[in-house]
């Protein structure tokens, strides 16, 4: 609905920001490579939706914290100027759950967020997960 200001939102429609479906990702705080956690595949779907995992990976992901997820997390941390830990640390997940635009940050494996201006830096990602092997190149 549309409201002229916040107080005009009917109490029964006043939603709590914690109802954000992505808030469930906060349960993965502290997860890192090598772990296997129930439901971890959902955050892989999130990263794939925004381009951090190529569409070539079919959506039936495992719950393993594998290289695919680690590379996606590192690129996300680079884009949002977070500490590049490759882990689902608290600050990274606090960013992940913020509402956002549905347009991907990464297109065809190249982060659009790191180009621009006079410094054209491109980061391609390596997916050395099981199955297809991809190469990596950081320029």
């Amino acid at each position: 609905g549309f409201y002229p200001n916040a107080s005009a939102i009917p109490p029964d429609l006043r939603r709590n920001a914690t109802e954000n479906a992505w808030n469930a990702f906060l349960n993965f705080t502290g997860c890192h490579a090598g772990m296997k956690v129930d439901g971890l595949y959902k955050i892989k779907q999130y990263f794939q939706y925004f381009g951090y995992i190529p569409q070539t990976f079919s959506g039936n992901f495992t719950d393993d914290f594998d290289d695919i997820l680690k590379n996606a997390v590192e690129m996300y941390q680079r884009n949002f100027k977070l500490n590049i830990t490759g882990e689902l640390d608290e600050l990274t997940l606090q960013h992940v759950v913020i509402p956002r635009c549905g347009v991907p940050d990464v297109v065809n494996g190249t982060s659009t967020m790191l180009n621009g201006g006079t410094r054209r830096r491109t980061y391609e990602v390596s997916f050395s997960g099981r199955g297809q092997r991809f190469h990596a190149a950081k320029r």
Partner: protein, 202 residues
């Protein structure tokens, strides 16, 4: 700032763009005026014009609120999460998630809303129009083209990063003489963050 692959933009012969609203949404004039304000912010800095028309099927840009799966392969996800998406030129489709509580705030620049679980409509509109023009996401946190917006935040003033990017695509509006007054928060953020020093608000 960044662009979509191939840096698509509206062709020279299509710089006076029209936009229309999904008739089934039956939007009020107040809601529609939010979008005209958002278009005006971009029209101020580039030599493009945006004119509202009634014919949804033939306008250059089509704006609609939809829930869940709405036929473009990018289903919305309900309350919060993904708020909206728009497609690069010359597609012109601009979709917003009807599951959100949209605040149709008044005039004025950046600020904060009292309601944490609501989204400022004009802030999202200004961002998505950036995509309709050919801009991708930016890593400059204060820019309009930064991918996320915290609930309760109103962010509508174009940042120098946004202006520089869109003017690479279309050149500057000859009437634009934007003077930048760097905002303290941006300056503080820039110290040592490696962002370009020219950051500031228009």
């Amino acid at each position: 700032y960044s662009f979509f692959p191939g840096e698509p933009r509206w062709p020279e012969r299509r710089r006076n763009l029209t936009y229309a609203f999904e008739p089934r949404n039956e939007l009020t004039e107040e809601v529609k005026s939010v979008f005209s304000r958002a278009f005006a912010r971009w029209a101020e800095v580039i030599p493009l014009t945006f004119r509202r028309v009634e014919s949804f099927s033939t306008s250059d840009i089509s704006i609609g609120f939809y829930a869940g799966d709405h036929g473009d392969g990018e289903p919305f996800d309900g309350f919060m999460g993904t708020l909206a998406h728009a497609f690069s030129p010359p597609n012109g489709h601009f979709h917003l998630d009807s599951a959100e509580n949209w605040i149709v705030s008044g005039e004025g620049g950046d600020g904060f809303l009292s309601e944490r679980a609501a989204v400022d409509l004009e802030s999202v509109a200004v961002h998505e129009i950036g995509h309709l023009l050919g801009l991708g996401h930016s890593s400059v946190q204060d820019s309009i083209m930064f991918p996320t917006i915290t609930t309760g935040r109103r962010k509508v003033d174009l940042h120098s990063d946004d202006v520089e990017g869109v003017q690479v695509l279309y050149g500057a509006n000859p009437n634009f003489n934007g003077s930048r007054t760097p905002t303290p928060s941006t300056q503080q953020r820039d110290t040592g963050s490696g962002d370009s020093g020219a950051a500031g608000r228009i």
